[in-house]
Subunit: 273 residues, 2 copies
């Protein structure tokens, strides 16, 4: 199934815009697990099993695996998701971007090696650097637009013809890069005003929204700014606030409770479909 | 030794501005080697042994390893370089970029896991996304500025206050991000005019220059545009033209001959120190 259809089905089936970000941080692993790389899959599995009926996507962040030489744990996590929850799309958060011949390799990393349904990429190098990803028409390609971090504006807010760069990026992607209708944009929850502008530019293109939870984004403001007329259009990702809700043996239950809470907070502000 | 000092020493010792890019492409491996992931290190080793006295750096491109599940081959390559040619700096070409907490993991991937001397990163997310790399004062942090690909201008040439974005990026990095004096910029050989502008902005900051060889950049024009007053300041990277100069048993000799040729072409246009 195409990523975008899979996402729409998951929004509906689980009545949820919540994406759980899988950022396995050994130092914060709960007490039942050894703080070592070989525990990562067990940690992810416990989180997934406890939340799969509450989410619209999972988003493993590849840096947390790469820094621990734990590509095997990432592969196991993807394989487990495919085998057990094939209806939940998986976004590999890797923010790659390179010249075409190299981008082909990164696309193979995400889509062939790991079998992800979607991948995050960086648009700074231009269309031909994104094209090897976009060519996978069934996969989602999620481009950085206005990111959630404090320094996001350093480049993204530079004014070009009277509008900030990120608006030009949004328009260029919506109008020129989205021929396969498989693009999404990353827009931080920490910037509702910018999200509102982006929504007005890209129509109903889905947005991946990091920055709630540990980064402090406001749920009401982001829903008001970013949801589409049918109350969807957002993949709202929370990682640390869910994963490390408890450091004890109840960590998976605590993760479920946090996910439920976030789903409800979000659903309070969703328009009826 | 600090990366920048190591680079200066290698420029001098080998009288060379050439960087060999290690982009191991199994489909193009020469006949003596099996076209499989476990041959990658053997291929790299043969190239390295044949060229180590002719180069100022090696630049493994991580996508070529990741797409083949060959992190072990990358590690072996880095370990081999450290053990045998510790005076040649190694640039991990990975073009990472993410929020601070994740960027810390990517910095660990490059500098701790693989032990690279320098890494390429993407500036689109702003200063706080680069800071976890910049903090490694002994390491080199090489930021994308004006890349070599055909679509580079899509974002990088957008006009901001009368000057293209890439010039603002160059100035911001030179003036605000370079407190540890460990920054470099990526500037494609395919754009000598832009390189000239960047050189005038960043003083003697070294530039990593892809785009000669397979991508067609002109050596004379790039030297004229990019070298510093002492005839250095450039790390000119060629990958495919060197690696795949021959598909036969003489591939390492052919790689050496191509590297020699490129070094000479470049040295013809260098100012005397």
């Amino acid at each position: 199934m195409r990523f975008i259809e899979k996402l729409k089905a998951a929004w509906k089936q689980n009545n949820s815009l919540v994406c759980v970000g899988l950022d396995p941080d050994l130092a914060r692993f709960p007490s039942p697990l050894e703080k070592k790389a070989s525990s990562i899959f067990a940690f992810n599995k416990a989180i997934i099993d406890a939340t799969h009926d509450l989410v619209c996507a999972y988003k493993p962040q590849i840096a947390y695996f790469a820094s621990e030489s734990a590509e095997d744990q990432l592969q196991q996590t993807l394989d487990y998701l495919k085998a057990n929850y094939p209806h939940i799309p998986v976004i590999l958060d890797s923010k790659r971007g390179d010249i075409g011949s190299t981008a082909e390799r990164y696309a193979a990393e995400a889509f062939v090696r790991y079998g992800a349904d979607a991948v995050t990429i960086n648009p700074y190098m231009g269309h031909d650097s994104a094209e090897p990803f976009l060519r996978y028409a069934d996969k989602g390609v999620i481009l950085l637009c206005r990111t959630s971090n404090s320094g996001a504006g350093d480049l993204q807010d530079m004014m070009v013809d009277g509008a900030p760069l990120f608006e030009h990026v949004a328009r260029m992607i919506a109008e020129k890069w989205n021929g396969n209708r498989n693009c999404m944009l990353v827009v931080g929850a920490t910037w509702p005003e910018q999200m509102s502008r982006i929504r007005s530019i890209v129509g109903d293109m889905p947005l991946l929204v990091p920055g709630v939870g540990a980064q402090g984004g406001d749920v009401e403001a982001l829903l008001k700014a970013g949801q589409t007329t049918d109350g969807t259009g957002l993949v709202i990702s929370s990682s640390r606030a869910i994963l490390y809700a408890s450091s004890g043996a109840d960590f998976a239950d605590a993760a479920r409770a946090e996910t439920l809470k976030l789903r409800e907070q979000i659903n309070c502000f969703r328009k009826a479909a």
